[in-house]
Symmetry: C2
Subunit: 216 residues, 2 copies
Amino acid sequence: MKTVAAPKARVSDSSVRRLSRYHRILEDLENQGCEVVSSARLAELAGTNPAQIRKDLSYFGAFGKRGSGYRVHELRARILEILGLTRSWKVVLVGAGNLGHAIFSYKEFTRYGFHIVAILDTDPSKIGQAWEGIRIRPLDGCEEVLAATGAELAVIATPAAAAQAVVDRMAKAGIRGVLNFAPREVEVPRKVALRTVNITIELEGLTFDLRGRNEG
Amino acid sequence: MKTVAAPKARVSDSSVRRLSRYHRILEDLENQGCEVVSSARLAELAGTNPAQIRKDLSYFGAFGKRGSGYRVHELRARILEILGLTRSWKVVLVGAGNLGHAIFSYKEFTRYGFHIVAILDTDPSKIGQAWEGIRIRPLDGCEEVLAATGAELAVIATPAAAAQAVVDRMAKAGIRGVLNFAPREVEVPRKVALRTVNITIELEGLTFDLRGRNEG
DNA sequence: CGCTGTGAATGTATTCACAGCG
DNA sequence: CGCTGTGAATACATTCACAGCG
């Protein structure tokens, strides 16, 4: 009864994002030597309210102590479990252009157990190069690469036109999750997890907020 | 009475994202020579339902023709107005590392009127270099750079530790919108628009969905 | 007593269903 | 008639408020 149970209800996407946020705050608190934290304090740091935090956590169990709050280290461990981060995840990067290189060089996610184990591209001038010892391989061999490395997640950093075909192929080859940076909506089979990040759409969110408003 | 009015109610973030999506689909339809589209067809292409589309649009006006649907070209124009994309937006890029370079090289958003007009960094070895003719300038001169270029949006591609200070400074210098790629939550004054993109949090969204599930 | 955990209440987003226009 | 535009209904997310435990 110590492990985190399956959630009692469907948990919203925003709730999951908040859990990621809480986790980062708890890391900071732990580094500062803070041992216990209340939902009120955590809410203040996360920019939300205490009830939201207690509700988010309550989907997965009861991790606090009435009267005192949450033990920082323990709550952090619980959230890691909830997010599926108690093990490491192997990632295949598809697309060795500028964006692919930036993602590869971005060491932040290594801290959370995400490891790029393979790089794929179609460009013959890229294939055979290596980044930090990882050989760039032809997309055509992706099935073998997935099998050999055991990668379960794919990060798509290809041009828009290539994205859907790449994702189809990865899905067939057994990929379990896809993070798509290509500026094109892609479809995946039901059982494959998907998120898309589109820089232009984020910029449009800003200009929507500013539209009409005058400068100053 | 032809222009797009201020929305009748507070419009949700997800609704704004969908409008961006509709816009892309309408572009495709227009390129295919399609002149008219119904909410049913658009919903099919966008992966949502017809009522959602009509509701999203109804916040801003009545753009369709009963009995036939929406004129593709006109609706596209309306959505551009809604999103604030009928003019171009000057963007300052802060951080000339890998990620900054990838964003700079990413030409997709140029098509929608976003233009990087300045690049800032603190690294002396970067300062003075130029990317496609745009000189990398010291962050210390950011007030002058903003004034001289008229940039209204900032894309933050700095390390986490630098992000808040950079954003504070930009805000003081009159920036109107911030797109933050640094892996750190930042605060901005009320009147500044903000979006944050955090790759690790997106990956955690995937592992949350997969946690517990077995492979295969 | 001070806090959590949670059912109930509120607020928000999505979907339904149909009146009404082209 | 076929579709949009929209109030009403439903579903969902957040916040309240308090019982109950440490």
